[in-house]
């Protein structure tokens, strides 16, 4: 993170890493956030994807450098590329596949080996599919996610890239956590709703 003063414009750069099993929508989330578009087709990430998103707020330019690691195990050796110097790491899982949530444990362990200071986030994707699950499953997954989130001391966010639910909010919460700023946003904690726990 660096701050620059040049001709009235202050610059802030943040590096964000996206980590998690394959086919849960890491690349989709990145593309959605940076370009605002969503594509149903699946394209496997080979290695690492990288995108920059600049946001100008009055005299400040915030640059998110988003690094997205392919979920296949063979790309684990590129993990340092994504996690080193990252301000925040999004540990992502598929809300409709419990196994992807369970893998978070291992991902977290791996990332912490390289970066001990990054702020962790627990992000569940495909909320739009999640609401079609049985209520029992929703309870189970939500509770499990809360348990993980507490253990990691990480904010928990359920999002839907295709329906633009909680996508922008993820990055706003990152900003509030990174600079320790107060966020006037209501938490969402009820099962079945897109969970938003960050306090």
């Amino acid at each position: 993170m660096e701050e620059e003063n040049y001709e009235q414009n202050n610059q802030v750069a943040l590096k964000i890493g996206l980590i998690g099993d394959s086919q849960i929508g890491k690349t989709s989330l990145m593309v959605k956030y940076v370009e605002g578009s969503f594509d149903e087709d699946y394209i496997q990430t080979l290695g690492v994807n990288f995108m920059d998103k600049k946001i100008q707020i009055r005299n400040t330019i915030i640059t998110f450098s988003i690094w997205d690691l392919g979920g296949q195990k063979e790309f684990i050796n590129m993990l340092p590329l994504v996690s080193n110097d990252a301000v925040a790491i999004l540990f992502m899982f598929d809300l409709t596949r419990k196994s992807t949530l369970n893998s978070i444990k291992e991902w977290y362990r791996q990332v912490r080996g390289f970066n001990k200071t990054a702020i962790p986030f627990l992000v569940g994707t495909k909320y739009d599919h999640f609401i079609d699950l049985s209520f029992q499953d929703q309870i189970e997954i939500t509770q499990q996610a809360k348990k993980f989130g507490n253990a990691m001391k990480a904010p928990i966010i359920f999002c839907s890239t295709s329906h633009s639910i909680n996508v922008q909010k993820i990055f706003k919460i990152i900003l509030s956590k990174a600079f320790d700023l107060k966020l006037n946003l209501d938490e969402i904690i009820n099962v079945g709703e897109p969970i938003l726990i960050f306090k």
């Binding site: 707020i57 633009s164 996508v167």
Partner: protein
């Protein structure tokens, strides 16, 4: 046995190239030499009769051959020395037996064999019928005509003879010149002041302020400036002893650089030099830290030196020496670099007369030459238009140098990129002139300039001078405790880094550095507050582009 040692051996192949090389000649031998065992080679090298390694090899061959002829069973084919003819460069006509190896064009048509002496009648074991003939023939290489000529050595065109040679690269003057030049580059350690990456911190606290890290600060304070060790064993001197060609080329290269950093050695040199020793025509002339050396030694030392090619003249901390104007008359417009530091002898008149003779000076370093004043600097600005680097830094008599001359100089020499005015009596006006007149300025030293004020700092961030100092890399403001508002410097440094991608080095003394850090912190806090405010507005803006999940749930 009448084998004459100077005659070519019968096994010599006739396909030999005679290459006229002025530095390599086959020598005339006598029996004494032949009887010298090969282990005396090195002695031969320096002797005047033997001038190339090739002839040495030949001698060895012959020596063996002689033994062979005397029925000592030695298999000569074992020896793979080059044969004489391979190295038989066109030689002096006064050969012991010039008829055998005539170098006159008339005999060119004769093959070597034809010109052989008739030896068959008096000895059964003639070279003709010895087993030597069965020696494997050599793979011949054609010697390419040298295309590049070094300035001093001229090769004659090779005669139109059949070529057969394995000429060593050490016999081609052009190549040898390159090789020895390389040796020179690698080993000649000019006694010059090394340029530090940054100045050494004054003390530990200062280092802490600069680096902000205890470990680095500790290292920076402990770092001792590497002392330049005089090199006593320069391989160039060994090169002198190899052979005539080596000697000629090496002495030519050595004579280009004249440098001493030790009075003892200088005295030795003076005692040895004379009209017959190597005549120096140096491009570089350096006397380094000869604090006590007297003028008469200097006069003696330059007596035999020609300064016609002089490009770089340096008297570094030799306070008692006065270089005569004659040197600079000789050097004329060749002189590019004039460094005379800490001299108690040179004055305004000296500098002005130099500027009349040497108009191409680019580097003028007159640190601690306290008798140089505004008067001469003003005058030289009329003549020295090519100046790139000037340094008039001094500890005493700073009042002698002021805006009056420096501004004139800045206006005359647009190419200046380095200016040293430490301890001078310059004011903000000079800084302003530098800003608007010198677009190429890279390094600026204004240490201990008591008349500078905060106004000069505002020049660095003034919107009107935003196009100035675009190349500035080093800025020194040590010992200017009168300065307060360093915020301009902080802003300028950030701008330089961000806009021009130059990591500006600002050298400050301890109290200024403390001020600088405090103000930097202040500025950072202000900027951070602004950023935080902006981000607060952003993250608490409800209209963020996300959809409302209620719509999805009610679908």
């Amino acid at each position: 046995m009448k084998l004459n040692s100077t005659k070519p051996l019968p096994y010599d192949n006739s396909n030999n190239q005679i290459y006229n090389n002025p530095f390599i000649t086959t020598s005339t031998r006598n029996d004494d030499e032949i009887n010298n065992p090969p282990n005396k080679r090195s002695k031969f090298c320096t002797s005047t009769t033997t001038t190339s390694l090739a002839s040495l090899f030949n001698k060895q061959n012959r020596h063996k051959l002689r033994r062979r002829i005397n029925s000592i069973s030695t298999n000569l084919s074992y020896y793979k020395f080059p044969k004489q003819d391979e190295f038989n460069f066109n030689s002096q006509p006064n050969f012991a037996s010039s008829s055998t190896r005539s170098s006159t064009p008339s005999s060119n048509s004769n093959s070597d064999l034809e010109s052989l002496p008739d030896l068959t009648d008096d000895d059964e074991l003639t070279p003709e019928n010895t087993p030597i003939k069965k020696l494997p023939t050599i793979n011949f290489q054609y010697l390419e005509l040298p295309t590049l000529k070094p300035p001093k050595f001229q090769l004659h065109k090779p005669r139109q003879r059949e070529i057969s040679s394995k000429i060593s690269i050490f016999e081609v003057p052009e190549i040898l010149h390159k090789i020895i030049s390389f040796v020179d580059e690698q080993n000649s350690n000019l006694p010059t002041e090394s340029t530090p990456i940054r100045r050494k911190p004054l003390n530990y606290n200062h280092a802490m302020l600069i680096h902000g890290d205890a470990e680095i600060a500790q290292r920076a304070t402990e770092e001792i400036q590497e002392q330049l060790q005089p090199v006593y064993s320069n391989p160039l001197f060994n090169c002198l002893l190899v052979n005539k060609l080596f000697f000629k080329i090496t002495s030519d290269i050595i004579s280009k650089k004249f440098y001493f950093s030790n009075e003892e050695n200088l005295v030795k040199f003076i005692n040895y030099q004379g009209p017959k020793t190597t005549s120096f025509q140096p491009k570089i002339f350096i006397l380094h830290k000869l604090f006590q050396t007297r003028q008469y030694l200097f006069d003696k030392c330059i007596h035999y030196i020609s300064f016609k090619q002089l490009e770089w003249f340096e008297l570094y901390m030799c306070p008692k020496l006065f270089p005569s104007i004659e040197i600079f008359k000789q050097a004329g417009s060749n002189l590019k670099k004039l460094i005379i530091t800490g001299s108690k002898t040179i004055d305004d008149n000296f500098l002005i007369s130099i500027s009349l003779h040497c108009k191409n000076i680019e580097v003028l370093d007159l640190r601690a030459c306290e008798y140089i004043s505004d008067f001469s600097i003003y005058q030289i600005s009329k003549h020295l238009k090519n100046l790139k680097i000037i340094n008039f830094g001094r500890k005493n008599k700073g009042h002698l140098i002021s805006d009056a001359s420096i501004i004139k100089l800045i206006n005359c020499c647009k190419g200046l990129n380095t200016i040293g005015l430490a301890g001078c009596n310059v004011t903000d006006k000079t800084v302003f002139e530098i800003a608007i007149k010198l677009p190429d300025i890279e390094r600026l030293s204004l240490n201990n300039c008591p008349r500078l004020t905060d106004h000069c700092l505002s020049i660095f961030t003034n919107p009107n001078t935003i196009h100035c100092f675009l190349k500035l890399k080093v800025l020194e403001f040590r010992y200017n405790s009168q300065l307060d508002n360093l915020q301009h410097l902080i802003e300028f440094k950030k701008r330089q880094e961000y806009k021009n991608k130059i990591y500006l080095l600002i050298e400050l003394c301890e109290d200024l550095m403390a001020k600088y850090r405090a103000q930097e912190q202040e500025l950072d806090n202000i900027i951070s507050m602004k950023i935080f405010n902006d981000i607060m507005v952003y993250i608490n803006d409800d209209n963020d582009g996300d959809s409302n999940y209620i719509d999805l749930l009610n679908r």
